[in-house]
């Protein structure tokens, strides 16, 4: 990412939503930013990290989202402005702290960014994190464009300081990763001296009066937000249909009305401040329209609240018809699109709407499958996880007691697919694989006889796995934990983590060693290179067959992409087709059918395997699985 302090105030720049959020925070005088990586939020902290030196701010990748927000709160208590950014799942991790922070209150402006991922494009779940605003009585802002991102973040810091509480700003995948023109404002000069008056106590008791204070802060926020100009109406005075929309959906709604040619019949109330809702504004627009459609992602958040508001004023407002997710006009799940909204509007207004040529999608799919070679959802060529799951699969199969593998969050989550030989039996949230393993590891006394293996990445290990491990140690759970240590947070874009010993801004930190942590807990722990398939298989086999108890294997091998950047892999691979057994009995394309590295292809014409030299990175692992010794690894220098 680029140093955002280099942007010139007043000069139009093309910025990603995430960069606009970061720039807005810099313009607001941010002093500390902390985050845990996760799509689609990661670039916010990355661009702040790259601006940290010039802006003179402190930026960190934290061990998890809760710690990130706690660090930000610490800065706020000393009067500095601070921000924590995360994806929707991170809000869950931080939730307990949020629900207490909102009672204690804050001092320096503090903003929580949640970047949600409708349709779960790069997530394990689909979740609308706006729930946190209602749950914790926090003001909520929803920008629709990068320019609004910048403006709303600045506003959010002022608002936070005005009410003395956390403010939530919610982005979306489409917004975070969209680039659009943004005009940056000036950067501040100077910052307050951080100071915590020792007479000041930030806590939550007495709870009930503090709870009242929190409600009062929200009410005050509502008044300020009503003046913000972030809620805007466009359209006729008494529209045939009022669309109430937020976020990206507001843009989709405008586009849909245009597509249908009903701009003059449809009014669009675009809400940028969605909690608390501006009741006076809503009452006015409800009065002007008989029919209301809600456009938002993903849950019917505004929809439900507006209907509740209407219920209290129904006598004055008269009969209304509400459309949206509850009525079935829009889906309850997944992203919205202009097409979906056009369909809903047409149905409500009695128009016909033809999304595209009916066969268009079909034709597009056919064309793609003709022109684009099939690639399964899989690990990269040379990925150590493929080797790790291979060893786990072989060992559990030889063990023969139908062992189960509890997975976790990271690239290795793909173990549920064929690329990981479907060797992962459960995946939920960060760290939960260890808790599940711990539970399974105690079921023996209840008759559970299958061996239990947990897999966790190195970054996830530090994020939320430790309590599960401590629990297993304490309660003597019987399972094998395999730490897939590729020394990277690869899934989210190679951010450093506690094990890598680098900080967000590229400075040296203190590397925290998984092995030492395990040993300190008194757990038997062994480091294995998963590229050595036989050794890795043997280690897993011995662990599951051996004495019961908690054991840790660290499968340590650098992520193939990181290795690629650091000089690459050592081999140039080739299949000796005179030795290859092809699809005859005796092999039946074992390399491409069973091992499935994308670097291994089958040469249909020759009826023999072939290395795809463009794709293969030269890790050499597949040479170990060929029964005929046909896959040859030569040192790259020698081959060149």
């Amino acid at each position: 990412m680029a140093d955002l302090t280099k942007l010139k105030a007043g000069e139009l720049a093309l910025l990603q939503g995430n960069e606009a959020i970061a720039r807005g925070a810099l313009e607001a005088g941010l002093s500390l930013a902390a985050a845990y990586p996760g799509n689609p939020s990661s670039e916010i902290l990355e661009s702040l990290a790259d601006s940290a030196a010039s802006a003179g701010i402190y930026v960190e990748w934290s061990a998890n989202e809760k710690v990130a927000l706690e660090s930000a709160a610490a800065a706020s208590f000393t009067g500095l402005r601070a921000m924590a950014s995360m994806k929707q799942n991170g809000v869950n991790v931080a939730q307990d702290f949020i629900c207490n922070l909102t009672i204690s209150g804050t001092q320096g402006g503090i903003v929580l960014i949640t970047a949600d991922d409708p349709s779960g494009i790069s997530s394990t779940n689909e979740e609308d994190a706006r729930f946190i605003a209602r749950l914790a009585d926090l003001p909520l802002l929803e920008p629709s464009t990068p320019a609004e991102c910048l403006a709303m973040v600045k506003f959010a810091f002022d608002l936070s300081e005005a009410i003395g509480n956390l403010v939530v700003l919610r982005s979306l995948s489409r917004l975070s990763h969209t680039r659009a023109g943004v005009v940056p404002g000036p950067l501040p000069t100077g910052r307050p001296q951080p100071f915590w008056d020792p007479k000041q106590i930030w806590n939550t008791v007495p709870v009930v009066p503090r709870h009242q204070a929190m409600k009062d802060k929200l009410a005050k926020a509502g008044q300020i937000m009503a003046q913000s100009g972030f809620n805007a109406y466009s359209g006729p005075e008494s529209p045939d249909l009022l669309v109430i929309a937020s976020g990206s959906s507001a843009l989709y709604a405008a586009e849909a009305a245009g597509l249908l040619g009903v701009d003059r019949r449809v009014g669009l109330l675009k809400l940028g401040c969605t909690w608390p809702l501006d009741q006076a504004l809503l009452r006015k627009h409800l009065a002007d329209s008989e029919r209301v459609l809600f456009a938002e992602e993903v849950d019917p958040f505004i929809e439900t609240e507006v209907k509740a508001l209407y219920a209290q004023q129904a006598a004055e407002l008269g009969i209304k018809q509400f459309f949206g997710k509850a009525s079935g006009h829009l889906p309850q799940i997944g992203e919205l699109t202009p097409g979906r909204l056009a369909g809903a509007m047409a149905a409500i207004l009695g128009l016909t709407w033809q999304p595209a040529e009916p066969q268009y999608l079909q034709a597009a799919r056919e064309t793609i499958s003709r022109l684009v070679p099939f690639r399964e959802f899989g690990f990269c060529p040379g990925c150590p996880h493929r080797a790790s799951y291979w060893a786990i699969k072989q060992a559990l199969s030889l063990d023969g007691r139908q062992g189960v593998v509890s997975g976790d969050i990271g690239c290795y989550t793909l173990g549920v697919h064929s690329t990981g030989f479907r060797r992962v039996n459960s995946v939920h949230c960060m760290g939960s694989g260890l808790g599940i393993s711990s539970g399974l590891g105690k079921l023996k006394s209840l008759g559970f006889q299958q061996p239990v293996v947990g897999v966790v990445g190195d970054s996830t290990f530090f994020h939320a796995a430790l309590p599960g491990l401590v629990n297993a140690r304490w309660n003597q759970a019987d399972y094998l934990l395999i730490v897939l240590d590729n020394s990277a947070t690869a899934m989210t874009g190679f951010q450093p983590h506690p094990g890598t010993g680098q900080t967000a801004s590229g400075q040296p930190g203190t590397a925290v060693d998984v092995e030492q942590v395990c040993r300190a807990l008194g757990i038997d722990c062994q480091v294995v290179d998963p590229y050595d398939l036989a050794a890795a298989q043997q280690a897993v086999y011995q662990a599951v067959q051996g004495e019961p108890g908690l054991k840790v294997l660290i499968f340590r091998r650098l992520c193939a992409l990181v290795q690629g950047r650091q000089g690459g892999h050592p081999y140039r691979m080739r299949v000796d087709q005179s030795l290859c057994r092809g699809d005859e009995c005796g092999c039946h394309r074992f390399c491409s059918r069973a091992f499935r590295c994308p670097g291994l292809n089958f040469d249909q014409a020759a009826g023999r395997a072939v290395i795809d030299e463009v794709v293969c990175v030269g890790c050499g692992v597949c040479a170990q699985i060929c029964p005929a010794g046909a896959i040859r690894a030569e040192a790259k220098e020698a081959a060149a």
């Binding site: 072989q394 063990d399 023969g400 039946h588 059918r593």
Partner: protein
Amino acid sequence: MTQSPAAGQPAAASLERLKAQVLEAGLCVACGACVGLCPYVIFHDGQVAAPDVCGLEDGRCIDVCPQAPVPDPSQKRAGLLQALGRPQALPLGPLREVWWARALCPDQQGRVQYGGVVSTLVALALQEGLIGEAVLTQAGPEGAPEGVRARTRQEVLAAAGSIYAAGGALSALNQALAEASDHALGLVGLPCQALAAASLAAHPRHAQGARLKLVIGLFCTLNLSARGLRGVLQAAGVRGPLTRSDFPPPPAGVLEVTTAQGTTAIPLEEVRPVVLKGCALCPDLSAELADISVGAAEGRPGWNTILVRSEQGQRLLDLARAQGLLELTEMPGESRQHLSTAAANKRARAAQAWKERADG
């Protein structure tokens, strides 16, 4: 009789059939014939497993498996004997000569199981160039038996003595057959392994199989699972590698195991749970598909029974006799009768087990 699959039912892939009908049915006897024939079947610590899906429909793995369901198992044996040019003979299989014997090789003392006939014959076959390499069974690093390949007398002696557990030695035969060499190969194997080896050698799509030129069969009534045996030994407090094990003849009723610490007798009731379930299907006491079969000599410790079955077996025995390597004596008629009865009983039990299997 075995039911033929319902008409019109698609033939399932070979490995998937082997998995369902033998491996997952718990009937595998770890002979090793399917192991290493291709990489889809693996073996470790006495255990055979097939972790991946192969999908090939006319594969050899199921054809060579002695435990794969066939409409008529005795028909299959008769066919293989015929291919070898030997008659089917019940209950002991084809016989040219029958002897009691022991080796006259002092360096074998204390290492061989009984009379040391097997080790002597294997070493001789190597020395005389009848075979270039022999596939034997030996304890691996974790104590479980596994296939080994021997070219010297030293290597043969290193594998002497019986291990009462299944060791998948035919995987070593497969490995040797896959290499680009043409020397003749020999095998020491249990009756199930002699059957599987005959199937391998006769397989129309395994040209290399013809390199198997000598099979020395061992008598066998049952075998144990390697991991099961380890558990039994642990439970009996036996520590350290076994230097000898034996099922002494009735009425002993024990498995006798010797380690550096001494000898322990483990009652048969403790051993029975780890007997391979698949052994119940085996009709063959004396390895009828071998060139020459060797077992214990009833009531005569330190001696073996020898059954010579083929020309090749005869040649080897004659060589041994000519070189004064063996002391031979006639097998008493009563013992021969006992052996025949035991062999007939095993056939009858197995026939019943196959019938039950077919009836599901």
